[in-house]
Amino acid sequence: MIALIRSELLKLRTTRTALALIVGMVALIVLFTLLSGLVTDDAFLLDRNNQFQVLANGSIASAFAAVLGVLSLTTEVRHGTVRSTFLAEPRRTRVLAAKLVAITAFSLVLGAVGIGLSYAIGKICLDARGMPWLLTGSDVVLLLAGAVTSAVLWGAFALAIGAIVRNQVGAIVGLLIWTLLVESILFALVPSVGRYLPGQASNVLTEIGTPHQLPITAGVLVFLGYVALAAVAGAVVTARRDVA
């Protein structure tokens, strides 16, 4: 199993994809944090929820972890390397488990780098503008731990979705449409139902003060349930389906 995990980590390190995602993520977080920390009104920043929002720009790492997760198996399907992968280890569930560990490790790094960056830049902006610090100790714990947890769970969830869908473009576009469009609309129209959807449930890790959201523990448990469900489904279909 250790050998398989090392193989998966090597796969991530030997194409430019992971590096490009990290560079893109860092650039985006620096830009967003600077914009929201410097260009906003004083009144905007004199609000606890808004301060949290500025410092939590790094939680966009979850989206990058999700892309990395989706690509893990779908790229192998697209380029045909899945064949040699399954010839080297015919027990496909073990391959998926190794991918899960590797993606979790990379997601952890993405989450930590992302939130570390936005926290540091955001705090410098607030201090430079002489804004009072409105966040509580537990806010800061949620801000840091929530973003990292969210990135890790999204990496795993997307890996499983990729295993189910298998088509690279289909999986990415599907996830985007689902989270940005379907869930947002449902949450806006019927929040009592919408808040139980995976994306909205996961938002409890990266937002505070959003109306109608689930309590944090409930949200995390609901999202964990989705991750577990998708992982089991992904493992079952991967074991059963023919590799064309």
Partner: protein, 311 residues
């Protein structure tokens, strides 16, 4: 025979390296492989032949556990591929020429497989040398020619120093030099007593390499035989034109030859040489207007075997 003798005889018989028994694969309503049975012994070099769409690729993928058969059993070394303890050390496979991430370097591709199979980096460099890709191994695969990709696939198949090599249409897209290189390589591999199973839709590609053939068409076995049996079918025929057709016919029949009348003055003589027909005509004083030796190629025999009306 007493049971003990049967058991002892069975035990003494070498286990087939590949056993495909009554394998059927349906894709919806389409039957891709239809009750296929064949066996390969250790040390044989077998050509897996049939036209495109005959079911060769599907059969190979079933054998390697990538595709699940609808019924039947497909074993390598007496068990399912899935149940092999160290698959890359037993079986090496080249399925597609281009199963690589274009942005990954050739050597890195091999390293990811080697890691998964518990094979050291020294062996990675060894197989790269073997397929003459030492320098190119440090370049990204997208810069490779098709021939280089084929050789990288082969290098991946050889990583575990396997006893059985399975190749699906390895000559596709290779230039003549590449085909010759592959042929020499497979011969050397088989000379070590290892087993090769190589598919092709063109017999000529593998005729100089294989000693046995398994021919399939429409998913069904057409023939499984030594190559010599196939070559034996390459018999000559003589095309002859004479104004004395009836007399010649009589003389040929008397000599034990079979004839087919093509026209009022034309005959086709099966399994004869033009010399023999000419001599017979001279002895019997028959006038000959035309005498042509016709040869069937091995390829024609193959096409003949695989052109039977589809079900």
């Amino acid at each position: 025979m007493p049971d003990a003798v049967v058991r002892a005889t069975l035990a003494a018989m070498p286990e087939p390296v590949v056993s495909v028994d009554s394998v059927t694969k349906r894709f919806g309503g389409l039957v891709a492989v239809d009750d296929l049975t064949f066996h390969l012994d250790a040390g044989s070099v077998t050509g897996f032949l049939g036209p495109n769409g005959a079911g060769k690729t599907t059969t190979l993928r079933i054998l390697l556990g990538l595709t699940a058969q609808s019924s039947g059993t497909a074993h390598v070394f007496g068990r399912r591929y899935h149940d092999l303890a160290d698959p890359l050390h037993r079986v090496g496979a080249v399925l597609e020429a281009n199963d690589f991430h274009p942005g990954r370097k050739g050597r890195d591709h091999l390293r990811t497989l080697a890691l998964a199979a518990g094979i050291g980096t020294a062996r990675v460099d060894e197989v790269l040398r073997l397929v003459e890709l030492e320098a190119a191994g440090h370049r990204r695969v997208k810069t490779y020619s098709l021939g280089m990709r084929q050789r990288l696939s082969l290098a991946a198949a050889l990583l575990g120093d396997p006893e059985l090599l399975v190749l699906d249409e390895p000559a596709n897209g290779l230039d003549p030099e590449g085909v010759r290189w592959l042929r020499d390589f497979l011969r050397a591999f088989a000379a070590d007593g290892k087993t090769v199973f190589v598919s092709s839709h063109v017999l000529a590609e593998v005729a100089q390499t294989v000693d046995r053939v398994v021919i399939i068409n429409n998913g069904r076995l057409v023939t499984e035989s030594p190559l010599e049996e196939l070559t034996a079918r390459v018999a000559g025929a003589v095309h002859v034109r004479t104004p004395q057709r009836a007399e010649l016919e009589g003389a040929l029949h008397a000599a034990g030859l079979q004839t087919t009348q093509l026209d009022s003055d034309e005959l086709l003589v099966a399994g004869a040489s033009s010399a023999k027909v000419g001599e017979l005509a001279a002895v019997t004083g028959i006038v000959i207007h035309e005498l042509v030796q016709e040869t069937t190629s091995l390829e024609e025999v193959f096409l003949d075997l695989t052109s039977e009306a589809p079900a």
